[in-house]
Symmetry: C2
Subunit: 346 residues, 2 copies
């Protein structure tokens, strides 16, 4: 008889008591399932970009040290939640066992290959062995197991797309899906970090939604990385500027928009201190969508007030309805983009 579990997974929380699995500092990662859980044979972890950057830095780029740090995190917390960034990532694997209470209620069967769309920062995980660290694409192949709670979201991997590609895209699926919802015809849109993984997907959606009467500006750090979106024709304008330099960003966007500034700014960078650039790139009553996990709440809130801007600022929820479908569809709609993602991330 399996034990009865809470939909949110609170039955796994060890420390501190009474919180949810995400804010918990330690959760129970024993692999016997509760009646509403799914156990997964894990193949690959896709570590959140902000988290992996931090781990790589801490390890000085050494692969064995990266493995050690990752195993240490899981041993300590029962989940792969980076103690510095607070963030996780996601995984792919095969459904090994479905709890009694869920059978027939979920469209899954044992043996299905799925990606979990819920953060690793709350997912009970055991790493038996780390096989390969694909250091440039934040992916790590392991032997291990994980638990998906009843409230946890997942996607069965599409058969027409390579699995590592699907995983890379699903990890950032919230960003293009939100872009699709926020951008209106005629909007001027700035995507900060537009040459990155989430950034290019956002550019595709922004251009589709803003249409011919709109303007889509891709802002990246280096001329070199901007060649990617430029080669794909994802934006109307490409600007290389350091997004931590708020004043430079303001000036460059003013120039590109004849001083109008942006209706919508999508922040997809993986570094600190880009809140102010995002705010100043937008119109006084514009909207900023912070997908970047490196966003600091206080800096954004006080930053906008400090310059007297009536900016609407949205916290990038990793989940929005239909986000897996929307992101997969982008790859089908845009074969050249799919090709670039395939080369870069799988």
């Amino acid at each position: 008889m399996e034990k009865k579990g809470c939909a949110l997974g609170t039955h796994r929380v060890l420390e501190p008591k009474g919180v949810l699995p995400q804010p918990a500092t330690k959760i129970d990662n024993s692999m016997e399932i509760y009646d509403n859980e799914i156990r997964i044979n894990v193949e690959t972890l896709n570590v959140d970009s902000a988290s992996f950057t931090q781990i790589k830095e801490q390890a000085g780029g050494d692969v064995e040290k990266i493995k050690e740090i990752m195993k240490g995190i899981v041993a300590e917390r029962g989940k792969h939640q980076n103690p510095v960034t607070g963030s996780g990532g996601m995984l792919i694997g095969t459904v090994e066992k479905i709890g009694q209470a869920l059978k027939g209620k979920v469209e899954l069967k044992e043996g299905d290959k799925i990606a979990t769309l819920v953060s690793l920062s709350l997912t009970p995980l055991v790493i038996d062995e780390i096989h390969e660290v694909r250091i440039d694409i934040d992916q790590v192949d392991i032997t291990g197991k994980a638990i998906l709670f009843e409230s946890g979201i997942y996607a069965v991997l599409p058969e027409d797309l390579p699995q590592n590609l699907a995983l890379s895209v699903l990890d950032v699926a919230g960003a293009p899906a939100q872009t699709a919802k926020l951008v209106q015809p005629g909007h001027r849109v700035v995507v900060i970090g537009g040459a990155g993984k989430s950034g290019m997907l956002c550019l595709h959606e922004a251009k589709k939604r803003a249409g011919v009467t709109g303007q889509v500006i891709c802002l990246g750090h280096s001329e070199k990385s901007l060649q990617r979106p430029e080669g794909l024709g994802l934006a109307d304008e490409y600007i290389a500027v350091d997004a931590t330099d708020a004043l430079a960003v303001r000036d460059r966007i003013a120039e590109a928009t004849n001083g109008e500034m942006a209706d919508v700014v999508i922040n997809c960078v993986n570094v600190n201190n880009t809140e102010m650039a995002s705010i100043l790139a937008a119109k006084s009553d514009g909207l900023v969508y912070f997908f970047s996990m490196a966003t600091n709440f206080t800096k954004a809130a006080l930053g906008a007030e400090g310059v007297g801007q009536d900016t609407t600022m949205i916290i990038g929820n990793g989940y929005t309805k239909g986000h897996a479908e929307i992101s997969m569809e982008i790859l089908r709609e845009n074969p050249p983009l799919k090709k670039v993602y395939q080369e870069l991330y799988s």
Copy 2:
């Protein structure tokens, strides 16, 4: 001849170079003005609630220690930005000098009594002496001077309202003004921290906007503090529960709404770890407005994803158009509320 200054005050930034005054760790607080600045004779500082709570704790409640800590912050940074919370507050004072480039361009004259609506976390400040610490209302009377940048917002203090009252209300004016914009007729609204300074103003606006077909729920920590909004009839429902206990909040709101949950949740607390309660109090596609400066970006972003909720989460910008007028108007519309504020905060 006064020197030419930047509208955003970047000419005052000492460390690190090239950032704006708010993220700067040190700004120039010399009191000679640039041509687009306004110098103010400061009377009272209204320290941000999260910041003052931290200072009081660090001082163990000792008034002399509080003074020392506050003077230390200003000596170190050239502005009253709490190094732990990152937040500031606001001030009232008298316009002493208006820069050449601003004269005639602003509706201000020397001698006007104003409140700055821009955070102390970016305002050049000098404290000559601290006279009185009003420990229960986060206000501190000083002799000192401050600088307002060209982009800085302010309000001339209304003549029909006592000045300390106006100051208290203006400090949190963004919250009720945003509530007014977000709440629609028929909405179910939860105000977390509804018995507090910003909370009661939000309740007033929420009830006005949600109307008879809506439902406004006031959530507070203690039965005792809930007596205040209850005595004023500000909400339809009053619930005493610890907002750091996400599951208890979810259950109590489910009970009060027949399992429907809230369309809009306004978070006005001054403590950490209430992100999850806010998310779970809302419908899956509901909206959470985080006015609390104790909000953690990552906890909110990953928290919503973790429970599979498509929540729209807004970062509480302290400024929104007309916020001073909206908040002052509440006091005129609701004389019993005005009386309570007068007793509590002035």
